[in-house]
């Protein structure tokens, strides 16, 4: 491939920015909190990074720090998804009604 590594990463970054913005551009304020906490859970994927660095280190201090990072990251990831699901359960229970029964056709 005649492309510099840096440019490739930049390209992927730029495209992801557009996807990130466009994908949520129609969210209703009702869903702001679940969306926030869902996104929050997604960046818990840093857990993957934590596992990779911790698993490959040879230094004991580094290992300890890494394990701490893993604990924190999994709190973020697991907790994030669970709490989001808890919130959404309550929305979803009533959502099927949404389209039909909204008394105000307008807007």
């Amino acid at each position: 491939m005649t492309l510099d590594t840096g440019v490739v990463w930049l390209t992927i970054f730029v495209l992801s920015v557009f996807v990130g913005i466009e994908v949520i551009s129609k969210v209703s304020s009702t869903l702001h909190t679940p969306l926030m906490s869902g996104a929050n859970a997604i960046h818990g994927i840093i857990l993957l990074g934590a596992i990779l660095v911790t698993g490959t280190t040879d230094n004991d201090l580094a290992l300890v720090v890494g394990l701490i990072a893993i604990v924190l990251a999994s709190v973020n990831m697991v907790g994030g998804f669970v709490v989001t699901d808890r919130m959404l359960q309550m929305f979803v229970r009533k959502k099927p009604a949404a389209p039909k029964n909204d008394q105000d056709g307008a807007a």
């Binding site: 580094a62 990831m77 919130m87």
Partner: protein
């Protein structure tokens, strides 16, 4: 890295995109979230099937994951709906902390391999260390504020702007050092300075604005994850992190608009003197208070009643008896709707969650734009534990912290009943003229008790 693993990671990235997409609409929100969770789990299993990990570390790693999982699930399960925002803040904070630590470890590798890393990698590492700790400290403070472990008022002290600026400069200098020649101690100090910045960034923010700050820090953490994705040359981290960074930033702006505030004003308003949260002392001007029986009569003989629920309903957990009241009124032939303000409560959609929990049928929940026209035809508006969302100051008083926020036109109704415990103001801490309007009567007391009394009185009619 074997190709199949790269493809798995790519697939997980796609799942994250679809997850976000789902989360942005009511229909697929829940599935979206579950899809994201599945992808995350798969991605984190991959390293165990591909043997660069030192075997002796694996059990420790698994143990750590278990600990974190238990903690996360416990927190997520036990938190009350009213405390959601601080929970999200907490989870976001630990994520930022993790990113910062990971970056330190990356730095450690570089140092050991005698710093042959390209400058851009080092810059990315420095970025992650600093911003990760900002997000960590900032989120912890917001947590403390919302959990009322500390005052939810803006904390401002004379030297603050200077200290803030100073620590920013320090961070930049340290980052420069790190890029020139990577040393462990520089990284550590940079992390500490980051913590300081996070602290100073959030202290001056008023409680009412905290959710917006959480969203912003959320975006920060996302970017740090993207940066470590670059350093670890892991596409999944890059894509996932960037997604969250971009959408988080965008969401922050959306939320700020929904509350009629500007982000810079939220962050630095307090510094600029114009406090983002007002005084909040109770006023002693005369008001008309009413007892449950009279209130019951007003409601029972009305044709059209609109309920305006607010944060107070949530703290008092009065939603269930409120629903009962509405049902009884319905049987009496009164037409009752709930008027839901987008920022009523302490998180967006707070009221929807709460009332859904109380099994209120969806058709009765009317959004602000839809129902604002109906208030003028309403005989009685029952304001339950709400205040700012019906405060005319948002229209009339430039300079008021909520000025410019769209509000529910409760003031257009023939009569207004406020259920609150005292004359204390709402979150924005400003007085509500509507409380002193001659159309207004106040039913004092905890929303739950007085709701119970009101319910019985209405039944007794």
């Amino acid at each position: 890295m074997p190709t199949w693993i790269q493809l798995v990671f790519l697939a997980c990235g796609v799942c994250f995109i679809l997850a976000l997409k789902g989360l942005s609409g009511p229909k697929n929100a829940r599935n979206g979230n579950l899809l994201g969770a599945a992808a995350a789990v798969v991605a984190c299993l991959v390293p165990f099937f591909w043997t660069d990990l030192h075997l002796k570390h694996v059990p420790l790693i698994i143990a750590a994951i278990v600990v974190g999982t238990i903690g996360g699930v416990y927190g997520a399960r036990t938190v009350q709906m009213t405390q959601m925002p601080q929970m999200v803040a907490l989870f976001n904070g630990v994520g930022g902390g993790a990113a910062s630590l990971v970056a330190l470890l990356e730095l450690h590798d570089v140092v050991e391999t005698a710093g042959d890393a390209p400058w851009f990698n080092l810059a990315a590492t420095a970025f992650t260390i600093a911003v990760g700790s900002i997000s960590f400290a900032g989120s912890i403070v917001t947590f403390a504020k919302l959990q009322e472990l500390m005052t939810s008022r803006p904390v401002v002290f004379p030297g603050l702007p200077v200290a803030f600026g100073g620590s920013l400069v320090a961070a930049l200098v340290l980052a420069g050092l790190l890029v020139n020649d990577p040393r462990m101690w520089v990284g550590v100090v940079l992390g500490l300075v980051g913590l300081l910045i996070g602290l100073l960034l959030v202290l001056p923010v008023g409680g009412a604005d905290v959710p917006i700050v959480i969203s912003l820090l959320n975006a920060f953490t996302g970017l740090t994850v993207a940066a470590s994705g670059y350093v670890l040359s892991n596409v999944l981290l890059l894509v996932a992190g960037t997604l969250v960074g971009a959408s988080g930033t965008f969401l922050t702006l959306l939320m700020a608009r929904a509350m009629g505030r500007s982000v810079t004003n939220i962050l630095f308003g307090a510094l600029k003197g114009g406090s983002t949260l007002g005084a909040g002392e109770a006023s002693d001007r005369p008001v008309r208070s009413v007892n449950p029986e009279d209130a019951a009569i007003m409601l029972g003989y009305a044709d059209r009643v609109i309920i305006v629920p607010g944060y107070g309903l949530a703290v008092a957990q009065a939603q269930h008896s409120l629903r009962e009241l509405v049902d009884v009124l319905g049987e009496k032939g009164v037409q009752v709707d709930y008027a839901i303000h987008p920022v009523a409560g302490r998180m967006p959609g707070h009221m929807n969650v709460l009332l859904a929990e109380a099994q209120v049928p969806y058709e009765q929940l009317r959004e602000m734009d839809h129902i604002n026209g109906d208030f003028k035809d309403a005989d009685v508006v029952l304001v339950v534990g709400a205040n700012d969302v019906v405060n005319p100051a948002a229209k009339t008083t430039p300079g008021a912290p909520i000025y410019g926020m769209p509000i529910l036109n409760a003031d257009e109704a023939r009569q207004i009943i406020f259920m609150k415990r005292s004359m204390r103001p709402g979150f924005a801490g400003i007085e509500n003229e509507l409380l002193f309007d001659e159309k207004t009567s106040l039913l004092f007391g905890d929303a739950k008790d007085s709701m119970g009394k009101l319910l019985n009185a209405v039944k007794a009619l």
